[in-house]
């Protein structure tokens, strides 16, 4: 009876609210409506679309690794804003320890907060398996229409075998990265060479080799390397695998759903020989296995690195962004890295831009939640576009990077310049609490009719304003990305979870560790013959460790995901 009453009331309120919303405003449930608030006493919908509860909504959530004092400091303005305008008090808990270790301890001790976000899928599954995460299925139906609407068919990926939902994605959405794995090059040096077009790994090798011959040392007389790395060599093979069209490290036969790990393929051997050649010819920084990001960045900033086989943002952050900040007005826009999509010959489709709609992070409401209905209602608000804008970009204010004017979400002029991203997006964090309480908001692109007309799409992390003819507003971005194809592939189907209590998680970790160690040996071989023989023995070793089990596990996960998505 109570349920029926609640549903009727919710339906009535939703209908009334829907009638009130203006057609062009693109308002969502939970924003300007009181959906599902039937059981709680509220005092009315505020200007941000939140139906303000009469009694303060209080709950705490654990969000991963960070410094609690720093987090509290950044969250202070937003905490005040939420208290005053929303009657909501949130407590964000962080620890300066590895999140998985902390979550395991929390599980063992039974001491965990009401909500946990930014956790891995494996950890979410652990909590679910131990009955510590509550069933969200009905709560979503009753209080969170935005979850259903925004996640669409991907919500099915969150369902267990019984069709129940215990976890939801955090930082999900269409990937805002236009580039991904790529073969970057110093733009000014490339131009100096006559801007030779390179589209294959071999052409990239020839280009950086020529530049290395022209620039053997930097201004201080230190050796310049064609490529370097700061991921112990992992980025080198990952970017190469993208050029060869591999998906998450596997060669996938989509018709049969068969997965083959790259080390078990001929392409894998080609990739190993290719990188080994850089090493043998002294083109690869000999410290690539020990470089931390900072060491590597120093080399990039000191103009000792010509190209990059890895991810676009590494060179972006270490290169142009750092140079622009360091050199200020003297900065030459052409002193930058150009990111280039490269494809191995004969490969139909490279896979440099993977877009996993559900992302890698999860949020759960735990059995400690005193008021799960209200929490779900809050999550629903955070998922509304305005909720995401406020949670992600901070309090709307003329001094913040965005403000609300006549119902439109207007960005500050300087926010249009990507080169000033640091001061636009990061410096204002402390003042306006951006991202301080982000739990479920998407990290991907959001679009809304109320968005600044100069902005075609925005994520709470970045903004890539585009002109009407499809060019980026920022000249630097155009220079860097003129040769990026940016064709993304949906990697959601390839999501796989390794549970700690499943022996496959040990196999996976062992193989990951061994692969990294063997890969380092392969590419640092003194001769090509030795590289080939090390590759073959690594292949045997990894297969003995259970690589084929891993291939099958991934293949099964892929098939199960396909079924869940009805494909």
């Amino acid at each position: 009876m109570k349920k029926l009453l609640r549903l009727t009331l919710a339906f009535t309120l939703a209908t009334v609210a829907a009638g009130c919303s203006s057609g062009g405003n693109n308002k969502e449930a939970g924003e300007g409506t009181a959906t599902g608030s039937g059981e709680f006493e509220t005092i009315g919908v505020n200007e941000y679309g939140w139906d303000v509860p009469k009694e303060t909504l209080k709950f705490s959530f654990y969000a991963g690794y960070d410094d609690q004092a720093e987090v509290d400091k950044i969250a202070a303005p937003m905490a005040q804003f939420y208290k005053e305008k929303f009657n909501v008090e949130l407590k964000k808990i962080v620890y300066s320890v590895d999140m998985n270790e902390k979550l395991n301890l929390m599980l063992a001790s039974g001491d965990y907060p009401e909500v946990i976000t930014n956790m891995s899928d494996d950890m979410a599954e652990k909590f679910i398996a131990q009955g510590r995460a509550i069933d969200l299925t009905e709560l979503i139906d009753q209080y969170a229409p935005n979850v259903t609407e925004k996640l669409g068919k991907y919500l099915n990926m969150m369902r267990n075998d019984d069709g129940k939902i215990y976890k939801l994605p955090a930082l999900w959405g269409e990937n805002p990265n236009v580039a991904g794995w790529d073969f970057a090059i110093r733009y000014d040096w490339w131009k100096e060479l006559g801007a030779p077009v390179y589209q294959t790994p071999e052409e990239f090798y020839n280009t950086v080799k020529q530049i290395a011959a022209n620039h053997p040392t930097n201004a201080a007389g230190n050796k310049v390397y064609a490529i370097s790395d700061n991921t112990q060599g992992a980025n080198l093979y990952n970017a190469m695998l993208a050029a060869y069209g591999f998906k998450n490290g596997f060669k996938v036969d989509e018709s049969t759903g068969e997965f083959k790990h790259w080390i078990n393929t001929d392409e894998g051997l080609e990739i190993a020989k290719y990188i080994n050649r850089f090493y043998r010819e002294g083109l690869l920084d000999p410290d690539f296995l020990t470089n931390k990001f900072e060491d590597w960045q120093t080399k990039v900033m000191n103009e000792r690195v010509i190209g990059n086989i890895g991810t676009w943002w590494h060179v972006w952050v270490a290169g142009q962004e750092a140079w622009a900040e360091q050199e200020q007005d003297k900065y030459n826009l052409e002193k930058r890295f150009m990111n280039v999509s490269v494809k191995a010959p004969g490969v139909e489709q490279s896979t440099e831009v993977a877009s996993n709609f559900i992302g890698s992070y999860r949020i759960i409401i735990t059995d400690k939640a005193k008021n799960p209905e209200q929490i779900m209602r809050w999550l629903n608000w955070e998922l509304s576009t305005l909720g995401t804008m406020i949670t992600g970009h901070g309090i709307p204010d003329p001094e913040n990077i965005w403000d609300i004017k006549d119902g439109k979400w207007i960005f500050k002029d300087s926010a249009m310049q990507y080169a000033k991203k640091n001061e636009n997006f990061h410096a204002v964090r402390e003042k306006f609490g951006s991202q301080a309480y982000m739990m479920i908001a998407p990290g991907g692109w959001i679009k809304d009719e109320r968005l600044d007309p100069r902005v075609t799409r925005v994520s709470v992390y970045d903004m890539w304003p585009i002109t009407e003819d499809g060019k980026f507003l920022d000249e630097g971005v155009n220079l860097s990305w003129q040769n990026v194809k940016g064709e993304s592939w949906d990697s959601t189907l390839y999501s796989v979870s390794y549970r700690g209590d499943d022996p496959i998680s040990i196999t996976n970790t062992t193989i990951k560790d061994t692969l990294l160690s063997e890969w380092a040996k392969i590419i640092t071989s003194k001769t090509e013959e030795s590289a080939v023989s090390t590759f073959n023995s690594a292949k045997d070793k990894l297969n003995k460790l259970g690589l084929q089990d891993l291939e099958k596990y991934n293949s099964d996960a892929y098939k199960a995901n396909k079924e869940k998505l009805g494909e």
């Binding site: 998985n100 063992a108 909590f127 398996a129 131990q130 410290d287 020990t290 040990i506």
Partner: protein
Amino acid sequence: MEQQVENRIKLQKERGSRLSRIGKRLKREKELWAINIFALGWVFVFAYMPMYGIIYSFFDYFPGKSLSESKFVGLKYYQEFFSLPDVWLIIRNTLVISTLGLTIGFVAPIILALLINEIRSRSFKKIIQTITYLPHFVSWIVVASLIFTMFGSEGVVNDVLIRLGILDEPFQLLGRGEYFWALLTSANLWKGIGWSSIIYIAAIAGVDQELYQAGAVDGLGRFGMAWHITLPGIRPTVLLLFILGIGTLLNAGFEQQLLLGTPTTREYHEVIDTYVYRYGIQLGRYSFATAVGLMSSILGLALVLITNKISKKMTGMSIV
């Protein structure tokens, strides 16, 4: 039958007299026990009480479950450790690194203490002692970054050697597995030699000065005095520390390996503790981690007792 009753009465009397002896001793040494009461309490709370946790190694425990919900699996996790593909490699690395520490790392502080003892100037002695103690207070994070700065392919050492014309191209010390044990032992030595020498310096200070005077009369030189008087004088301390050190043979360090290791050195740096951390603690497999930890402790205790027995037989000295 009568004989049996008599024996039992005798035994009870003996037990009674032993208890009263202990009681009397406790009464006699009450001040000493009072001083140690907090230390004993600390040991009980932090060293003995957590020991109940070893029971988890016999259950299929998973974080979030209670022990009663977990299945008893006996020695499953002990067997699992020995069925790991890299188990012998891990054991080899652990034993080699520990043995290097227990030989080179054990002898070096004794030599340093003897050398410091030979310094006549008090102020110079103090300076040397302070300099050698300092590395102990430097965290492994800092030590690791110092090592990378010094020995990287573009580090100070390579730079100097190339400038001097000794090397044509940088020597890859950090990325080569075969040098890892030497690097780690050297780093451990640098960090710990001064600190470990303190106890020997204290022991040397306790050696009877008359023995040195007698040695001088007998014509002993400084080396002779160190060999025939100082070393025998600190033998009990050396033996005690060696026996205790044997107990840590299966604890080859942890931070050092994680910080200094690279993928190419994995076959040389992976030890029991690093493996347990990554495959036990980080994956939430506490039963496995407990099993391996308990196994290491039992083996360590056994080694201590065996060494103690050998020492007792050979030198007449022992710790228990």
